[in-house]
Amino acid sequence: MLDADFFRRWMTATAALVDREAERLTALDSPIGDADHGTNLQRGFTAVTAALEEEKPDTPGAVLTLAGRRLISTVGGASGPLYGTLLRRTGKALGDAAEVSAEQLAEALRTGVDAVRTLGGAAPGDKTMIDALVPAVDALGDSFAAARDAADEGARATTPLQARKGRASYLGERSIGHQDPGATSSALVMAALAEAAGE
């Protein structure tokens, strides 16, 4: 079973990975975006870990809901409301149970991903974070490691795609040949989840 500590570890591990990869995320965001994805997420997840330490939420749902709210209010770019919605909706779906199963998390995360799709209007193949998150959630039934690998594969597979959402979509065919920064950071979030699970 997964308790609040597990979810705190997930968020802390995400913050550490985002810190480590911030320059790469921003570099990926330079040719097809506005070169702020790494710094925006760094600011957001730094605020998340600070809020978790300060408020000490004691259920899985409360950890993710708080994290989501902090992201919405601190990121300053589109990734704020998108990741914020992902975590908050996932957290709300987990309810106020003290512990949840991996299956419950997989189901809740699917609710979160669906909310992101509704918010941003992106479908698989649009070269967005959805291209990493959907295969990850599909693989979560097998293992956390499988979800991590599926997200990474999904992020890599965005390279030949033409962007159909967000600022990159204005570039049309010139967006082809670049790995999507949002899909890349989504793969980091899933890698952090596997790390929290010790996989």
């Binding site: 925006n40 300053g76 704020g80 409301p81 600022r167």
Partner: protein, 136 residues
């Protein structure tokens, strides 16, 4: 009709200057008389380009007169942040609405309409209608 409750308008842009200027322009074009509550929510709290959920919430609270709040946005994270705040439930005044309208023309239409004492539906309709104003 000074006791009439007017619809509040929030203008959300990635740029503080754009939001403030469009607010000033819309107020100027609405003429004298009724003072429509209009608040800009532009840029990040640090003064950079971007979107701030805190600035949006504060702006919406400041223009809420109990008749609803119409939020107009430029693009990208401005749209997504307002949608995320609306989904949150308690971050914006009751009866707040993201209005799907062109930023400058929609703001002018919204403020002029709100100045007449129109309700939120009518303010929204006027702003949306601005999309059909062809220039050529």
């Amino acid at each position: 009709m000074s006791d009439e409750r007017l619809v509040g308008i929030v203008l959300v842009s990635h740029s503080a200057e754009v939001a403030a200027s469009v607010a000033a322009l819309a107020k100027a074009l609405s003429g004298g008389g009724t003072e429509v509550p209009v608040a800009p929510a532009g840029g990040t709290e640090g003064g950079g380009f971007g979107t701030s959920a805190e600035l949006i919430s504060a702006a919406a609270a400041s223009v809420d007169r109990g008749a609803g709040v119409a939020l107009l946005t430029d693009l990208g994270s401005a749209v997504l942040t307002v949608k995320a705040l609306l989904a949150e439930g308690d971050e914006l005044p009751e009866n707040s609405r993201l209005v799907d309208a062109p930023f400058v023309e929609g703001a002018v239409a919204a403020v002029v309409t709100a100045a007449t004492g129109a309700d939120l539906e009518a303010v929204e309709a006027a702003a949306v209608e601005a999309y059909s104003y062809r220039k050529v």
